[in-house]
Amino acid sequence: MTRRLRMIVLALGGAGLAALFVAACFGMPGFGGDRHPYGDRAVHASLARRTANTISSVNFDQRAFDTLGEMSILFTSVLGTVVLLRQTRDEKRGRPQPQEVALPVRRYALVVLPVALVSGLYVIAHGQLSPGGGFQGGVVAATALHLLYLGADYRALERIRPIGVFEVGDALSASAYLVTGLAGVLAGTAFLANTLLPYGTFNTLSSGGTVPLLNAAIGMEVACAIVILLARFLDQAVEIEEDNGKR
């Protein structure tokens, strides 16, 4: 297919799709409407189980099985990346030269690293109360570690980031999610049913039954996943080079 023909097909398809979409837009309930039956029921169920953050309740209680699916997508894509970006036989590992970093930048990185790490943990820990949760906090905590690469050099990051530990952590937290779900089955109810633990007092850290546990498992899973992903990318971009035979 030539480029010209491809553009014509694209234009036709795009125009058709656009027409259908716009027609659909005008058939939808108006933006800002007052009818949200599912939302109202979800809020009601969440308050009955004393989870202050309704969104966390939907994620880790009412639709916990769906989150298990999301987590397995996450896990699989990390696995895929690790397999795709492994070091092949014709590649060798070069030692990257340390990077000079201006003093204020280095200091900033070293000061903000613990602050960002603590904020990440804060976001995970308060997931069932205030906005936040395992997904967001995990990413923040993982990003915080990489300030060492940005503010110092790659070898400093490698020293504090034993990649094997994070790989084990990834697997452990994924199975922790499953085990928490299975505990429900053993207790005589359903998989991932939130009936195991007392619901606690509304708006405290231990409220919401199994929501904080699943939230923490997801937080650890996401943090480990992002660290592993970025480690593979950094290895490829910084360390691994093709063996040209002459160098």
Binding site: Y108, V112, A116, S119, S130, P131, V140, L150
Partner: protein
């Protein structure tokens, strides 16, 4: 809508609109500065919105943006150091003006909230925002000298 959200509307429309314009056009040195300023312009807007909606919980968003926005700029500063070395960005006037805007918003909100935990959080956000913004600007204009793969 109340006064806070109206202010936020104007501030976000003008500020972030300018950042989008800056990041789309011009030479690379202008684009990285616009990317850096986008977080410094959006975070005070988020603080204003938190106040306007009467939801202190929304301050977390500004906190995260103030933490991670400069980290994003450091990514570009570090990995584009070679490209920026020949043509470093010089936009201290704009950077300082934006930092001043952030400081004014934080101080006004502090005066409104009054002393307490909320005020401490606001001050932390303000310090991270302004400090991070200035350091990120420094990193862009020669923060990684003599860069070779590393």
């Amino acid at each position: 809508m109340n006064g806070w959200t109206w202010t936020a509307t104007i501030a976000l429309g003008v500020g972030v609109g300018a950042a989008v314009w800056g990041v789309v056009t011009g030479p690379l040195r202008r684009r990285v500065v616009a990317q850096n300023l986008s977080s410094a312009l959006a975070a005070p807007g988020l603080l204003l919105l938190a106040q306007g909606y009467g939801r202190p919980a929304y301050v977390d968003l500004a906190l995260l943006l103030a933490l991670l926005g400069p980290v994003g700029t450091l990514v570009f500063a570090r990995l584009l150091a070679d490209d920026l070395a020949g043509d470093p960005p010089r936009a201290w006037a704009v950077t300082l003006a934006v930092a001043g805007y952030g400081a004014v918003v934080v101080l006004v909100l502090c005066a409104v909230t009054g002393p307490g935990r909320a005020m401490v959080k606001l001050l932390v956000v303000g310090a991270l925002l302004i400090g991070g913004n200035l350091v990120a600007s420094r990193a862009l204009s020669g923060g990684f000298p003599g860069s070779r793969r590393g």
